[in-house]
């Protein structure tokens, strides 16, 4: 595998939830995600996958009970230790949630919404952004001609691609996907996967998934999280065929992981 540049990386990232009792969800994770690659984060439920993903664009800021220590760097720039406005940071790192979530507006406005927040587009330019983003998300042919219809009227798979298009419209460098196919039927999931595969030539994609098959199908690199720690991050083939860590081996084999003391 060739050495690639790092798009986004964490440095000793710690996230603690303090709601009822203090729980350290991430225990000092340092991991880099390569440019123009699709990296999947896998691991058992509750191991901190989504926590890691959300810390990559400061979504924990809106959760009062989450405390973040350490830092994240996007192309060398710190995300946390910075004076830049958080919205400017978030536009560079797009986020697609697990549940297909349309904004309460038309298909067109769903895609245009983020773009309009950041730049003053003329109507023609905005039309252009919307079309380009929908084409990139492989949705244009299905919605062209009914862009004024409510986004919520689409199927779950279409909404998930609408969410992708919406994120692409603000021109991010990194795309974070949180189990974006888990709520979809196999056909729709395949369409989203295909879309992601075509997108990685332009964007660096970090995707949380439960499915090892999915990782095998679309990932370039796989990162394995267990109990809030990064166990291993390596190329997809090595990961599934010849992992370094015994815990990875057991996880891949579908066995219970016994924590090594």
């Amino acid at each position: 595998m060739t050495e690639t540049d790092t798009a986004i990386e964490t440095d000793d990232l710690r996230v603690t939830y303090t709601a009822d009792q203090s729980v350290e969800a991430l225990k000092g994770v340092s991991v880099g995600f390569a440019e123009n690659e699709l990296t999947t984060i896998i691991g058992p439920s509750g191991c901190g996958k989504t926590t890691l993903l959300k810390s990559l664009n400061r979504l924990h800021d809106i959760e009062p009970s989450a405390e973040v220590a350490g830092d994240v760097y996007v192309e060398g720039e710190p995300l946390y230790d910075t004076d830049r406005p958080v919205p400017e940071i978030r536009r560079k790192v797009g986020y697609v949630p697990q549940t297909p979530t349309p904004l309460p507006m038309s298909i067109y406005d769903n895609v245009a919404y983020g773009a309009k927040l950041h730049d003053d587009y003329s109507n023609a330019e905005l039309d252009d952004v919307v079309e380009t983003s929908l084409r990139k998300a492989n949705l244009w042919d299905e919605v062209n001609g009914r862009l004024d219809a409510p986004g919520a009227g689409l199927s779950a798979g279409q909404i998930q691609r609408l969410c992708l298009a919406r994120s692409l419209a603000v021109d991010p460098d990194v795309l974070l996907c949180d189990e974006v196919t888990s709520a979809l039927d196999p056909v729709s999931a395949k369409e989203v996967e295909d879309t992601l595969e075509t997108l990685k030539s332009e964007y660096s994609i970090v995707m949380v998934t439960h499915s090892m098959e999915q990782s095998q199908r679309i990932a370039d690199t796989v990162a394995f999280l267990y109990l809030g720690e990064l166990v291993e991050k390596t190329g997809v083939e090595t990961f599934f065929e010849d992992p370094d860590d015994e815990r990875t081996e057991r996880f891949v084999a579908g066995e219970t992981i016994v924590d090594t003391p």
Partner: protein, 286 residues
């Protein structure tokens, strides 16, 4: 007694209870509509005719003053309380306040909601006495605003709370500010917000106790913000206790106007909510 007999008795009880409630509802609305309709059919002009100087004695003229007074009191009050309610409810979301604060605030709002309207009336009356003013349209607006505020705020808060976390994460993730996010959330919550506003309006237009001392129960057309005014519920009370049969029949006509207004508003809110719901997942499709 075997289980199935118990089951039959329970079925019978819930059905009977529902039937009683429905019958009362039909009776109340029916009697008002029939008697009010009769009075209105006999003389439809009374709704749009200002009262004569002897209206309360012999029913000369009509009760336009109360129809207009109701709209002039409750319309502005609803606008003001809606703005206040949306602002408060926004502040109570996790984007601004801690769960604990929101809980206490909601408890307080529930207490306000449960406060008898006459207390609001007395409250505003106290202010009026302090300020040395007499009953006026403005004081009426003020007291109805205070009365509607907790109702609309609780509805709006519940509606905003039901907006999915993912929606907020989505807009924040796109680089929206807190204000931009809450605007989208409010849009997603519109069916609930509209229901709250309509409920506030309906309760406000139907309430007599709040405006009894504050608006003044005037028997003339509303003259200005600082002039006394009256509303339909007060008028109905005055009419129904009149010794003139003609005036008493007008009480049904005024009730007819009031009930039809409230029913129309509830219908309108259902329609509006349906329109907005098309834009939220699980809402009715086109």
């Amino acid at each position: 007694m075997d289980r199935y007999t118990e089951q039959r008795i329970a079925d019978g009880l819930v059905r009977a209870a529902t039937a009683i409630v429905l019958a009362v509802l039909v009776l109340v609305v029916g009697v008002t509509l029939v008697r009010g309709g009769r009075a209105l059919l006999a003389n439809p002009a009374i709704v749009v005719t200002p009262p004569g100087s002897t209206y309360m004695l012999d029913g000369a003229g009509g009760f336009l003053h109360a129809v207009l007074g109701s709209l002039l009191v409750v319309g502005p009050a609803t606008v003001i309380s809606t703005v206040l309610a949306i602002s408060t409810a926004t502040y109570l979301q996790s984007d601004y306040s801690s769960e604990r604060f929101a809980e206490y605030a909601n408890l307080f709002l529930n207490v306000l909601w449960g406060t008898p309207p006459i207390v609001y009336g007395v409250f505003v009356l106290t202010i009026m006495i302090g300020a040395g003013t007499r009953a006026s349209l403005l004081a009426g607006i003020l007291s109805i605003t205070v009365f509607q505020y907790p109702i609309i705020t609780r509805y709006t808060d519940e509606a905003l709370r039901s907006v999915s976390t993912e929606l907020k994460e989505t807009t924040y993730g796109l680089g929206a500010t807190r204000f931009e996010t809450i605007r989208v959330a409010t849009r997603a919550a519109l069916p609930g917000v509209v229901a709250g506003v309509i409920m506030g309006f309906a309760r406000g237009i139907g309430d007599a106790a709040t405006v009894l001392f504050t608006a003044g129960g005037s028997t003339a057309m509303p003259g200005g913000l600082l002039e006394p005014a009256t509303t339909l519920p007060i008028l109905i009370f005055q009419q129904a206790t009149s010794f003139n049969a003609e005036v008493r029949s007008h009480a049904y006509a005024a009730s007819f106007v009031l009930i039809v207004t409230v029913l129309a508003l509830i219908g309108a809110s259902k329609l509006l909510a349906g329109r907005f719901a098309r834009y939220t997942p699980g809402g009715q499709s086109e």
